[in-house]
């Protein structure tokens, strides 16, 4: 069985100037970056912009990758920071759209059940404070609380607390819906 080079070794090679390693690394991580970007931003357009930010910043940032953390942990941190950056810029330009509110119309229109779920998702994500939303963006992809804690630079306990807070929010939301 032949093994692929690890993310870490590719990242080290790339930070030493190996263009092929960089290409392979980014190709491998691209979908992951995009999907985290989507979970963070809530719209396809925003996710694409955010992914582009990350892609163009990576060559510079990689030079600082020292292998202290797992590469993906480091990468998700870069994506989360990029998302914060984008939100901040959007806010200062007073063009702030409510991320999870700017939802693509007509997508999956044929599937009513799914779009109902999507609406609930949008609504649910919107109802959450920013830090809970970021936390969910990570843990909804089956990331462990420990890893999410590493990415966000908080303790695992904080992540668990945020997840339980988020669950409370969701439950309350569901209850309100059920009453209507």
């Amino acid at each position: 069985m032949r093994m692929e080079p690890t993310n870490e070794s590719l990242a080290r090679a790339a930070s030493d100037g190996d263009g092929a390693a960089f290409a392979q690394l980014l190709e491998r991580q691209y979908d992951g970056i995009f999907s985290l970007a989507f979970r963070l931003s809530g719209s396809r357009a925003d996710a694409e912009d955010l992914t582009q930010d990350v892609c163009t910043a990576l060559p510079t940032k990689l030079q600082g990758f020292r292998g202290e953390a797992r590469f993906t942990t480091w990468l998700w941190r870069v994506v989360v920071n990029a998302a914060h950056d984008r939100r901040r810029r959007a806010a200062t330009r007073a063009r702030h759209t409510e991320g999870w509110g700017d939802w693509e119309k007509n997508r999956r229109a044929g599937d009513s059940e799914t779009s109902e779920a999507v609406d609930w998702l949008t609504q649910a994500m919107r109802s959450l404070p920013e830090d809970l939303r970021d936390t969910l963006a990570l843990v909804l992809d089956d990331m462990t609380h420990e890893d999410a804690a590493d990415v966000l630079g908080v303790s695992a306990g904080t992540i668990s607390w945020r997840v339980s807070e988020a669950k409370k929010h969701l439950r309350a939301l569901r209850e309100r819906e059920d009453q209507v």
């Binding site: 100037g17 980014l26 582009q52 060559p59 940032k61 202290e68 999956r108 779920a117 999507v118």
Partner: protein, 640 residues
């Protein structure tokens, strides 16, 4: 009712769009172009609207406080921050400090500064404060490799910098490589209020890696990072002579309550488990597959060469019936020694001599091959074990660590165990080692010197290799009528859910032949002035019981190979004979608490720990306890 969280997860999955192929191609091309351009030009800082934070001290402090565990760990080994501690324990060595010929490179950027830049800042620009720090302050990187037996940190008058100097030690093998050590970081077990949570459940632990790590840090003149300290592994590093099992029980448990050395108003509940020591001549034949990491990082003197010496020490303990095979992994895995009788020392040592380090690590392939060799060797009535020797950079490549765990625990079910021997420092991924050994029903030991190899592979060979009980779990129910509060000392990474105790499918630790396991609770009796929590004004009054039992002790274990557990239970009563063995364990518990800056010790200090350990040292035939006392002294002077 469905779980909203799961609903959200599904909704998210359903809503997730696939990345647009054209977009993706254009993004990738853009990034590649940027990458190529960058190779020719300097890293340009883009302007930012964020106000640069100024001040070197502030910068460094923030840097340290925001670093992740791994980063901080590297920071503490790679450079010494600006707190100006001057520790020169041996003045005769002082002249060496200034003429050992190490150049001081003032311009060299400190790696952690970059870490902050990438972790905290926004895209595409270097953190301005980081750049400024480098220019303003000469921060000196400790040259490596750093080999020393005494902690030496010095300061020069003209600049705020510290440097550590290498002092050649007596056969010191430990090197620090500013690298990627990682630890399972669990918070200290908190104080529990008996009325709220009367039941405490955990798995036993016979790993010792944490103690060896602490030792090598202290020997290097550094306080071990708090997250590397696992008190139960420190306590269980030492063999204790507890009461031996009677009849056909594989082990004996002794529960004793005595005064707490560091607090007159609390007591310690000491739980001792002594495994039976089967006669050596009766032991079943062993099949050992050494899976040896020969990746490039294993080249250092304290890794592969030490491993070879260690195995040479171990061979005389084995008999003709025992078989050894060797598999290596690095780049590609390969079997370098067919199953060979352990008495054929020439063949085995010859194969070991031919090992050399090189290439990158491919752990999973190696593991698969080692297990398949082991399965080929296994016969009815024999004990088969894979011994993974690595510096911990156990690279699982493309595969999910969870799958690796699953793989190992599946193999455990089929009767092949796994133990992990850690070597060297710098790459040691302690968390992975622990996880592997825990899932493989084995022990994780960290070998930093030949004497440690002697302990693990010779003196305690039987315990390390012959399991006598699997999945040993302990559950203690405290009586709220007697005990107001309790806390378990150590075992943070071994906690189990209350319901897991009776669930035989939940894995737990194992006891080998002759092993001892110690667990200590600090308990606060009802009405003691040491009770830290107030009664609830509106809470329910705890159901009081007239019983004078302090609690009820339960232990479950499985005979090796059995699927169903057996239960041992006994009430916990005040008193019991306190032996020196127990007192020494308490001294080590206190030592661990001191290393973690535990809030529960009050004024109790290293002096008292040393006095207690000295008084209870006992026979100490191997000198382990004397060494621990030396480490306490070392820690005391380093902790000033």
């Amino acid at each position: 009712m469905s779980d909203e969280f799961d609903d959200l997860k599904h909704a998210m999955k359903a809503a997730m769009p696939a990345p647009d192929a054209a977009q993706k191609a254009s993004h990738l091309a853009m990034a590649q172009k940027k990458f190529e351009t960058l190779q020719g030009s300097a890293d340009e800082a883009r302007p930012t609207s964020d106000r640069p934070k100024t001040g070197i001290f502030r910068g460094v402090r923030e840097m340290l406080s925001t670093l992740s565990t791994r980063g901080a760990l590297t920071a503490s080994t790679a450079f010494v921050a600006l707190g100006l501690a001057v520790v020169v324990p041996d003045w005769r060595q002082a002249p060496q400090l200034f003429d050992a010929g190490y150049s001081v490179d003032e311009a060299q950027p400190v790696p952690v500064v970059r870490e902050r830049a990438e972790a905290d800042d926004t895209l595409g620009r270097a953190a301005p404060e980081a750049e400024m720090e480098i220019q303003e302050a000469p921060v000196i990187i400790v040259p490596e490799p750093l080999v020393q037996s005494a902690p030496v940190v010095s300061m020069q008058q003209d600049g705020a910098y510290t440097r550590a100097m290498p002092v050649p030690g007596d056969g010191a093998l430990v090197q620090i490589e500013g690298d990627t050590e990682a630890f399972a970081d669990a918070d200290q077990n908190p104080l529990k209020v008996t009325a709220d949570e009367p039941v405490s459940t955990f798995s036993i632990d016979v790993d010792t890696a944490s103690y060896s790590f602490i030792r090598s840090a202290l020997m290097n003149g550094q306080m071990p990072p708090v997250e590397s300290v696992r008190i139960e592994e420190m306590i269980n590093y030492f063999p204790y002579d507890y009461a031996e099992p009677q009849g056909d029980q594989p082990f004996e448990t002794t529960v004793t309550v005595t005064d707490t050395p560091w607090n007159p108003d609390t007591q310690l509940l000491h739980i001792a488990i002594q495994g039976e020591k089967p006669a050596l001549e009766d032991r079943p034949p062993l099949n050992l597959v050494f899976l040896i990491d020969t990746s490039g990082s294993m080249e250092a003197a304290n890794k592969l060469p030490l491993l070879k010496q260690s195995l040479a020490l171990m061979l005389p303990q084995l008999t003709e019936e025992d078989e050894i095979a060797i598999v290596t992994y690095a780049g590609s895995a390969g079997q370098v020694l067919e199953a060979t009788s352990a008495t054929d020392t020439d063949a085995i040592l010859g194969a070991l001599d031919n090992l050399s380090a090189g290439g990158s690590t491919n752990g999973e392939d190696g593991l698969r091959q080692a297990y398949s060799v082991a399965e080929g060797m296994a016969e009815e009535g024999e004990v088969t074990r894979v011994l993974l020797a690595t510096d911990g950079d156990f690279n699982v490549g493309f595969f999910d660590p969870k799958r690796l765990e699953q793989f190992i625990s599946d193999k455990r079910e089929s009767g092949t165990y796994l133990s992990v021997l850690g070597f060297g420092r710098g790459n040691l991924d302690d968390e992975i080692m622990q996880t592997l050994a825990q899932n493989g029903n084995g022990q994780a030991a960290y070998i930093d010197t030949l004497s440690e190899a002697q302990k693990v592979l010779v003196d305690q060979l039987t315990g390390a290799l012959f399991p006598i009980a699997n999945d040993v779990k302990i559950q203690v129910e405290f009586n709220p009528g007697q005990i107001a509060e309790y806390r378990l000392i150590g075992y943070e990474t071994r906690g189990l859910n209350r319901q897991d105790f009776n669930n035989d499918r939940v894995d737990a630790g194992d006891i080998g032949a002759g092993h001892t396991v110690t667990a200590i609770y600090e308990i606060t009796p009802v009405g003691s002035p040491a009770v830290l929590t107030d009664d609830l004004r509106y809470g329910e009054v705890a159901a009081s019981s007239d019983s004078d039992e302090l609690g009820f002790f339960k232990l479950r274990y499985k005979a090796p190979g059995a699927d169903n557990s057996r239960l041992i239970e006994t009430p916990i009563l005040a008193g019991g004979d306190v032996t020196d063995e127990m007192r020494f364990a308490m001294a080590i518990a206190g030592f661990g608490e001191l290393l973690t800056d535990s809030p529960y010790l009050g004024d109790w200090s290293y002096d008292q720990a040393i006095a207690l350990a000295n008084a209870s040292k006992g026979d100490d035939p191997f000198g382990y306890r004397a060494e621990a006392i030396r480490l306490m002294r070392l820690a005391e002077s380093l902790d000033q």
